[in-house]
Symmetry: C2
Subunit: 94 residues, 2 copies
């Protein structure tokens, strides 16, 4: 496979994963805004399910050599960091 074709495909895969991470961040933050209690079990379940789905996509992309493992870990940890910061703020303001 030509190098530039590979790069093109890798960039698209990376952009898709970042967009999915951003979609999950927004989904969870909207949920938290509407929750009286941020510890609500449903919120945790939605979060776990979405994070599991994203981790399956990332694992799939890694196995297809579309992203490397380190990049995959970064996408997940960045999303986790943003969500826990938002969660702290949400608890602080309740």
């Amino acid at each position: 496979m030509s190098v530039e074709a590979q790069t093109e495909h890798k960039e698209k895969a990376y952009a898709l994963l970042k967009a999915d991470a951003e979609r999950i961040r927004k989904l969870i933050e909207v949920q938290m805004d509407n929750l009286t209690l941020p510890q609500c079990p449903l919120y945790e379940e939605v979060l776990d399910t979405q994070m599991f789905g994203l981790s399956r996509e990332i694992d799939f992309a890694i196995r297809l050599n579309l992203i490397d493992e380190e990049t995959g870990k970064q996408i997940l940890s960045e999303l986790e960091r943003k969500l826990s910061a938002f969660h702290e703020a949400a608890i602080g303001s309740k």
Copy 2:
């Protein structure tokens, strides 16, 4: 991207998804073999989680033009068919 490079990548993506579907089939069937009650909630939860993970991978592959939507649907429905057949047999034999 050269046609043969695209085909190579698509075949690899398809093979990965089929292998993941097979891995889930085996995981669920082993669970069912060890269950006294096939309706056990944990079994349903594991099944739902695994199917959700596979559907996220398939959706990701479709968006990357690695497989088409019809192929994605086939992989999921074939796995669902196998699992429900096994589930019927498991209930029948309890």
